[in-house]
């Protein structure tokens, strides 16, 4: 296991970046939404709710791209293309709280809807491109 993220851009994994996650619709059209982003040293972690468009897309087709713009310099960015290697409900609740801490400074994710089930995706990076 080696870190697939270029050292020069590893800071973007720590910053409060609203990443752009691209998935694929049933007809192959890309779909892009902002996501909170996490990195475990090997895979990118994306947390969403069961049943959302991105969840349906990712179950159908594992090919994704995640693009992170440096909040301090919009001309500096990292794109990571790869594939979903795991989808799990285990630990997804703890993980969304971890993300709420990172992005909002709150111990518990405050936007939870009634009956919402969180799901955690692990994306294995295959290719990166960058600028800046």
């Amino acid at each position: 296991m080696s870190n697939p993220i270029p050292e020069k851009f590893s800071d973007l994994m720590e910053k409060k970046v609203f990443a752009s996650l691209a998935t694929l619709m049933p007809d192959g059209t890309p779909q892009v939404t902002p996501v909170w982003i996490d990195f475990d040293g090997e895979n990118l972690l994306v947390n969403t709710a069961v049943g959302r468009q991105k969840d349906r897309n990712l179950q159908r087709d594992p090919k994704v791209s995640v693009m992170l713009i440096d909040p301090e310099n919009p001309y500096r960015y990292l794109e990571v293309r790869g594939k979903v290697v795991e989808r799990t409900l285990d630990g997804a609740d703890d993980h969304i709280n971890k993300m709420a801490k990172k992005y909002m400074g709150q111990d518990v994710y405050p936007y939870r809807q009634p009956n919402e089930v969180r799901v955690l995706y692990k994306v294995k990076p295959e290719k990166t491109s960058s600028m800046g």
Copy 2:
């Protein structure tokens, strides 16, 4: 011709938003890069340089997504999915200067490389989704 952009989000077309443009690689993997964005009342306009990955992708497959996060509120965004309806070199130089004015306050695009040829894409919106 009717404006396909929801009135509530039309301000995002005027702001200095670094949009996330998703195109498709030859194997169907999405590719995402930040772009300056323009809107002519009917189509989204994206300006790039001939030969770049996104130019090659867009010539092969017209399906795209453009996602704009409000610079003043990262939890407010608009996604526009659609298709390329025109690729032209005509007016692309003037247009990149217009974008330099919008984003940098400069009359002439300052990042031009030797031998760079600008190309202008027009994307017809087919579907929008949003939050906030």
